[in-house]
């Protein structure tokens, strides 16, 4: 039976997700709109205040964390630097300072690469973009108006419309991400289940689980978010059915309920790890040079990053590497052809 690879769309979308994404997005829109350069600008403090509020609310509402692990702290550090420098790049009047903030964006993105186990990409990006940024500096020094205010730097084209366009896109992306990958609801339900497992009498178990209708509805909504064909989803639904059968309003059998609850807990943990996953089924053939298949939801990358990346590039992606080389050659010739001075009168 062919298995669909695509995620089933979440059927119901709670309004909580809408507000959690709308607040930081609207604050960010206000901030960027106020800070974009224009001849008689708004005082920068208002924009800075809105930007700070947007960052803090995004950190609270969109970023999931549990406790300060080193990785979490570094993630916050690098991502805050990246986002703030990106905002400065967009709103900066002086092109030299804009190029400097672009350097900051690249450096902090490289930090995030390193956190995601991509050391070779980090080094390559730093080396390549260092050259690119130096060349950009040269261009700024060569071409930009050095004194006074110019039309190019002090004005924006349609600041309101472009801000709305950009932040509408961002809001849509964040909403989809939030409703697909957020595990808070499932974690709450699993905590409830754990609490219920510690009770002894059937009545206490039911009390710990809370409202019957609400509990089942929330759990079914979570099950609908899993790919319907996946193993995790099937397990979750089966466990829910068991529990519903065992749940009698006048008490019921505590052992039976607990067995169902244990199964539900295991299936829920499994489902959480597979959440929003497009992991292809294990029997699909995947090149052994680009991946090593391990059973389990979160396989690890090989430790020797450069060796494996090189082997993957020169086996699976050999044709693409050749094409990339050709593209570089063509681009070099094109750049020379475009920028070469032509003889007078030939334009």
């Amino acid at each position: 039976m062919p298995q669909p690879l695509f995620l089933d769309a979440p059927v119901s979308s709670p309004t909580g997700y809408v507000w959690a994404t709308a607040l930081p997005v609207i604050l960010g829109l206000v901030a960027v709109y106020l800070l974009l350069p224009r001849p008689r600008g708004y005082p920068p403090w208002w924009g800075a205040l809105a930007a700070a509020l947007a960052l803090v609310s995004a950190g609270f509402l969109l970023i999931q964390n549990d406790g300060a692990v080193v990785e979490t702290v570094l993630f916050y550090l690098f991502s805050v630097i990246a986002v703030v420098a990106g905002g400065l790049l967009v709103t900066q009047r002086n092109p030299v300072k804009a190029a400097l903030s672009f350097a900051l964006v690249v450096l902090s993105t490289c930090g995030l690469f390193l956190l995601q186990e991509a050391p070779f990409l980090m080094a390559a990006t730093i080396i390549i973009y260092a050259g690119a940024i130096i060349v950009t500096f040269l261009f700024v020094i060569m071409l930009a108006q050095q004194t006074g205010i110019s039309d190019a730097d002090a004005r924006s084209r349609e600041p309101l419309l472009s801000c709305i366009a950009g932040f509408l896109l961002l809001g849509a992306i964040l909403f989809v991400l939030h409703s697909t990958y957020n595990t808070k609801e499932l974690d709450d339900l699993l905590a409830n289940t754990e609490l219920a497992l510690q009770q002894s009498s059937p009545q206490a178990v039911q009390n710990a689980l809370g409202d019957k209708r609400g509990f089942f509805e929330r759990f079914h909504r979570e099950a609908e978010k899993e790919a319907a064909s996946s193993d995790a989803s099937r397990q979750l639904r089966a466990a829910l059915n068991d529990l519903e059968v065992a749940w009698k309003d006048d008490g019921g059998d505590a052992d039976k309920m607990k067995r169902a609850l244990t199964r539900l807990h295991e299936a829920g943990l499994e489902a959480r790890n597979y959440k929003g996953s497009l992991q292809p089924p294990l029997q699909l053939p995947v090149s052994r040079y680009s991946s090593h298949r391990e059973p389990g939801p979160n396989p690890s990358l090989p430790k020797e990053n450069v060796a494996f990346l090189g082997r993957s590039l020169f086996t699976d992606y050999l044709l693409a590497v050749e094409l990339g080389g050709t593209l570089l050659l063509v681009a070099t010739i094109g750049a020379i052809a475009i920028s070469a001075r032509r003889a007078e009168g030939l334009r």
Binding site: P39, R40, A58, D66, T72, F75, A82, L89, V90, Q92, P95, A99, F102, V105, L112, Q116, A118, A124, T125, I128, T136, L143, Q145, S150, D151, A152, D153, R155, R157, E158, L161, S162, A165, G166, F167, L169, L170, I173, L177, Y181, N182, T183, G276, V286, S291, N298, P299, L301, P302, L309, S312, D316, Y317, G324, L327, A331, T332, G334, A335, I338
Partner: protein
């Protein structure tokens, strides 16, 4: 922390970088800043791919990011050559000077508000001449 939450965090940062770059490309008028904004959009996408590579435990995402860097380098070369050519013919980096390339039937955008006057910097102090002016030596020539 569970791996799905980690993945979502990185995707959020990538989306924010992408959207900020899009706004910069649409709103700014300096050609060099537009170019930098486009590069920032590419950084956001690369971050997404690297996060997915980590999440799924295979190297396809990282290999793809390497190709993104290649294409970005080509784009940078061509873009800077184009900026140089555009600057030569209009003597400015303002992209609105090229709005005669717009579609037929579109109104040109005019800048109504004048730019603020340049801030006048304090004049440099003039020192009063001190000392004696050296005497001009009469040029005498006995030819």
């Amino acid at each position: 922390m569970n791996p799905v939450a980690v993945l979502e965090n990185y995707l959020v940062v990538g989306a924010i970088l992408f959207a900020l770059g899009a706004i910069g490309f649409l709103a700014r008028r300096n050609l060099i800043i537009m170019f930098l904004s486009a590069e920032m959009m590419l950084q956001g996408v690369a971050l997404n791919l690297v996060a997915f590579a980590r999440h799924r435990g295979n190297l396809q995402g990282q290999a793809f990011t390497l190709f993104i860097i290649t294409v970005a380098a080509c784009e940078a070369g061509i873009a800077l050559a184009l900026i140089l050519m555009l600057y030569r013919s209009r003597h400015s980096l303002d992209v609105s000077l090229w709005q005669d390339l717009r579609e037929a039937g579109q109104e040109p955008t005019m800048d109504e508000e004048p730019l603020p006057p340049e801030p006048v910097s304090a004049p440099l102090p003039r020192l009063t001449p001190a000392g004696l002016e050296p005497q001009q030596q009469e040029e005498t020539s006995h030819v």
